[in-house]
Symmetry: C2
Subunit: 407 residues, 2 copies
């Protein structure tokens, strides 16, 4: 018999954690280590304690709430993050945390005894908008960053991460870090339009796309817009524009889920009556497997050379960052698929285009994610929205999957 | 018998006026109303006085040096400007002024008595880089700007034009303004590659292209670069890039001397991992006649709509400035052509793509320009260069044309 959730309680809990960070535009600003973040954390800690969980905070400020298992095994871990972007949406991150809290509450009030411990986690600074990089706390757990590096990060005002963590009262103990997990499950809104377009309430996520960031610099000849005939120009912006079109065509040719984006553009001299002598654009390519990602990068090099040749300008392509693809645990995916089928939850299998704490968690524990449909695909904005019936199906899937894994 | 110039003296004079404003990179910074501008002006005034000219300064700071004619007629006027852009070239503006001084020196030392007065002019603030707009003093003479408007203009530091003009000691008398002219001749470097490409030392300039500046705003949907499939994107930068290519193709299709330039680009949010929701680009179109200019503007509207439709984004095209084409005086052009032929100076007839003081002077007097070949087409940079043999031919053409017009 599947266990059901209390949707109204979940909704009230999400509203409560959002009320401490509400913006006039209808979004939330619960940016990492601000007073709003602290207020959200304080609520979570109180709710965890009221649910009888053993609460602890590690040296990165990540909050854990543990419910003992019958045996001293590694825990089944689930959760997400409470921090948001400025004027972000009401669901991104917070939904996964309050969903995990609802799991704990249901298990507690139904007095279910699991064999393995259950552990709800809320990671510090997933967004990375105030203190870079993103997914900071899960990254430390996975050995991607050192604590010293993280502690020394500063925001634009020069405030130091380690100081700010202490200021809000969440600089805990290294001993409190997650010791490991038999499984990690993260429920999150999709933040894209795939489920909405294909009409599925939830997705079981197979992995996270690999990402490579390139910076492409075209160097031509800056000149007066007036006296220089078209045939004699070496216009860096025209070359860059060709690449923008080529990159879009490339991604369409490869087909979904591969995507490519030219998000940034800087011209020199960037004045109305001068031919741009220099144009720098960014290219973000994403592919679910490493070979595909590498091929996209190589293709950008070829296309950039073609665009440059057409305008007789020089071009340099530099890789500025790359994150390899992540494959989630195939056994966990199978557990969730069977559970979804049993519960009658229609699901889509998909790859995440965005990063999540689950990306780093996958390096230290079997991991899987559940996506909830984002209405219209909006995210990181006040328009971010999800249907409560979809949320009910997703959290019911989480709850019953956790129970199965812990038993 | 044509009169010849003293090329070595001209060269020394140009070197002297550049030595007070030389930059480390080999260019000059004689920006309007700076101490370097004053130093250049002081030299010019001294040289004018040493040549026996009657020197006066008008309320805009424009410097005139007059040599009396046998009859009290309106003068034949020639000159250019001494101000430069920051780290600009050694010839832009200054060459036309020292060429005019060489004309006066030659006429004086050969004791040539002209029927009409000769007047050498050095206009204040042609460049408009410190105080906008450009061609300020000639614009006031032509009634384009009022003195109050010009006096109240400020630079980025908040310094007021009228105050700065007084500070350098060149706020003269409104009575000293040019009373009119039977002809105005401006010798200037081409600042473009046409003469160099076609291998002519000089050009007789038929007019100045009309210019229209448009701002095109594409509005799509900003979204995460990861979770949004290519088919569901409304990418404002891809649309803008299409227009950049279309604009280039349009200008090539129309053919020279029409040109079109997309010099500025601003994206929002302009971050590496977001699809641009907004892209604003500038379009500068130039054509020698008004009908052609209007047709280019209409074509940009059509092309912008086509680019927007292809990406399912919105577009708005705004005209932010327009300057009608200028035709120089056909009789003056004929005088110069005959003189060039007589002197054996090979010349090209062309339309100027850039603005000059001659543009406004053409509204109040018969006007023509002589261009000197710019090596490589470079201008507004230390690499700006011209061949001294070309300069000799151009100044000889100026001198003998002035004498013919004044007789």
């Amino acid at each position: 018999m599947p266990v059901h959730i209390d949707l109204e309680r979940l909704r009230r809990t999400l509203d409560a954690v959002n009320s401490v960070a509400a913006t006039e535009e209808g979004g939330v600003s619960r940016v990492a280590l601000t007073d709003e973040d602290r207020a959200g954390r304080d609520l979570l800690v109180r709710w965890m304690q009221e649910t009888g969980l053993d609460v602890r905070v590690d040296d990165l400020g990540t909050i854990y709430g543990r419910r003992k298992g019958a045996e001293p095994d590694l825990p089944v871990v689930f959760g997400s993050h409470l921090d948001s972007v400025p004027n972000g949406g009401r669901f991104d991150g917070a939904l996964g945390v309050v969903a995990g809290l609802e799991v704990m509450r249901r298990v507690s009030e139904q007095d279910i005894q699991t064999r393995r411990p259950l552990e709800l986690v809320s990671f510090t600074n997933e967004e990375g908008v105030r203190f870079e990089p993103a997914m900071m706390a899960s990254g430390v757990l996975a050995g991607q960053f050192t604590r010293d590096y993280v502690y020394s990060r500063t925001d634009r005002a020069g405030t130091i991460f380690g100081d700010e963590l202490a200021r809000i009262g969440y600089r805990g103990d290294v001993e409190h870090r997650l010791p490991g997990a038999v499984a990690f499950l993260e429920l999150h809104v999709e933040q894209g339009p795939v489920l909405d377009t294909r009409d599925y309430p939830v997705a079981i996520v197979e992995g996270i796309q690999g990402i490579t960031w390139l910076e492409v610099t075209f160097t031509g000849q800056a000149d007066h817009a007036g006296p220089t005939p078209m045939a004699l120009r070496r216009d860096a912006f025209v070359a860059a524009s060709r690449l923008v079109a080529f990159v879009q065509e490339m991604a369409k040719r490869i087909g979904g889920p591969a995507v490519a984006t030219t998000g940034r553009c800087a011209l020199e001299p960037d004045i109305i009556n001068a031919i741009p002598g220099r144009a720098v654009i960014s290219v973000d390519v994403r592919h679910p497997d490493q070979a595909g990602l590498d091929e996209m990068e190589a293709e950008v090099h070829r296309l950039a050379a073609e665009a440059a040749d057409a305008e007789q300008v020089e071009v340099a392509v530099e890789r500025i960052w790359s994150s390899p693809p992540t494959s989630f645990d195939s056994q966990l995916i199978a557990v969730l698929e069977r559970m979804a089928t049993r519960l009658g939850v229609p699901y889509h299998r998909m790859v995440s285009g965005a990063g999540h704490d689950a990306k780093y968690m996958a390096e230290i524990a079997p991991t899987v994610m559940i996506f909830v449909r984002s209405l219209g695909g909006y995210s990181h904005c006040p328009e971010e929205d999800s249907d409560w019936q979809d949320i009910e199906q997703a959290v019911t899937l989480l709850l019953n999957s956790v129970l199965q894994l812990a038993t």
